[in-house]
Symmetry: C2
Subunit: 240 residues, 2 copies
DNA sequence: GTCTATAGTCGGATAGAC
DNA sequence: GTCTATCCGACTATAGAC
């Protein structure tokens, strides 16, 4: 990544700056509209750069789209990487108790809720990822292998321990999907959710409500006693 | 609806036939691609009609899109209407037991799973509805008020009875969303789900597995003892 | 590296014959 | 109601000056 970036010059190298601005614009515009509805003019205008900068830096509109996808995967990896690494290390070292496993699961679920609902970029990310689920292209592989696969595998390992099941037992992954599903519905069906709850969006208060409910239902699904309520306060930025 | 259809002539009135073919083509093409990526030429080719038939019968490409949306709502209402009506009638008449309420909830959940995963048109419907959730237009209102709202309200009433909570307690709707979320993830994140389960699609066998797991997890969330397993066999058609 | 100008393509909608 | 032919606008990508 960024082979042309010279450390001493703090990203003010003209070409690098233009690339960055186009990627930021791409996250926003590709996220809001879809690939076809997004025009190179919108992208250039939003980035405040010239139209011809797109084919120059990224070869084509599609090239910019792929750069945007890689950028999102990097950001998401930064958010989930630490939790995933902790889970893998802890499970590899010792045979930890169910309650320790559940604590790690709670942590990653809280991170999911606050990232998916709370960060301002989340709506854009979700737009791009959801459209790739409906109509997968090469970009979906980058998302799946870069973020979804590692996170799902970590959850699978934890749930297998908690339920004393084998990770390769299909029922184990089905339990993981049930737990993750109740998180994702808030993003995938955002419009229906906020109408049916009469919410106006996802601000800090709503995010905490979602977090505690997700944990509560996860306990029920896993047959674990509900721990004392303490939703983590990480990432409480507003949605819109 | 269909004010021009003469009962005696069995849909062979030329104009009606052309309209129907265009709507069928629209379900397929708008579902697979998005509104902008869909061209009027694709639609006319798939329907086997002339390009100019689109502006003639539906005024514009957007007019055809709205006709497609209304058609989907009609079909979906046919699938959920009976269950919704039964629930509303039963709850209005008598104060039925938790187990009766849970039986009705199971029925509507099984219908959801088999409709959403099992019918051949489901992929197309989901494509259109999901894109409307990401980027809502006027069409989303038609979906929400026509299908989602009635189904969610029925589930809400049942869950309120089962949990002895008020329907207007936000926690009640959050429980409904958790239960529905585990169904929807199979459609909204279809690509990630089939990869992580190493499935090839949703055929009859997979649908039954999903149905029994959804009921099992719903029991856990609602604190109801798991009934004897008997997934309904309605609508077992194949996905692809 | 960045700009202006433009080439080349394609899509939606229309006009008017049949 | 259905067809062919065509207009007009908008889009991506490129050429070439600076």
């Amino acid at each position: 990544m960024a082979a042309t970036m010279v450390p001493g010059e703090r990203n003010s190298v003209p070409g690098v700056r233009t690339r960055q601005k186009l990627i930021e614009a791409g996250v926003e515009i590709f996220g809001r509209y879809n690939f076809e509805a997004t025009t190179t003019r919108m992208l250039a205008d939003r980035a405040g750069v010239n139209l011809a900068a797109i084919p120059y830096h990224f070869k084509s509109k599609e090239g910019l789209y792929h750069a945007v996808v890689r950028h999102i995967v990097e950001q998401a990896t930064a958010a989930y990487g630490p939790a995933v690494a902790e889970i893998n290390e802890t499970l590899a070292k010792s045979s930890c108790s169910s309650s320790e496993c559940f604590a790690m699961l709670s942590r990653i679920l809280n991170t999911m809720v606050s990232t998916i609902l709370g960060t301002p970029e989340a709506k854009s990310w979700a737009g791009i990822i959801l459209r790739e689920q409906i109509e997968p292209t090469k970009a979906f592989d980058i998302f799946y292998e870069g973020v979804m696969q590692p996170v799902l595998q970590s959850c699978l390992a934890l749930v297998a321990r908690i339920l004393h099941r084998q990770p390769d037992d299909p029922e184990t992954m089905l339990s993981v999907l049930a737990i993750v599903g109740q998180v994702l519905i808030f993003r995938t069906s955002r419009e229906a959710v906020i109408r049916s709850l009469k919410w106006r969006g996802y601000s800090r208060k709503e995010i905490q409500v979602v977090q505690s409910n997700v944990i509560k239902h996860a306990c029920a699904i896993l047959g674990v006693p509900v721990p004392c309520e303490s939703p983590s306060h990480e990432g409480g930025r507003r949605d819109e």
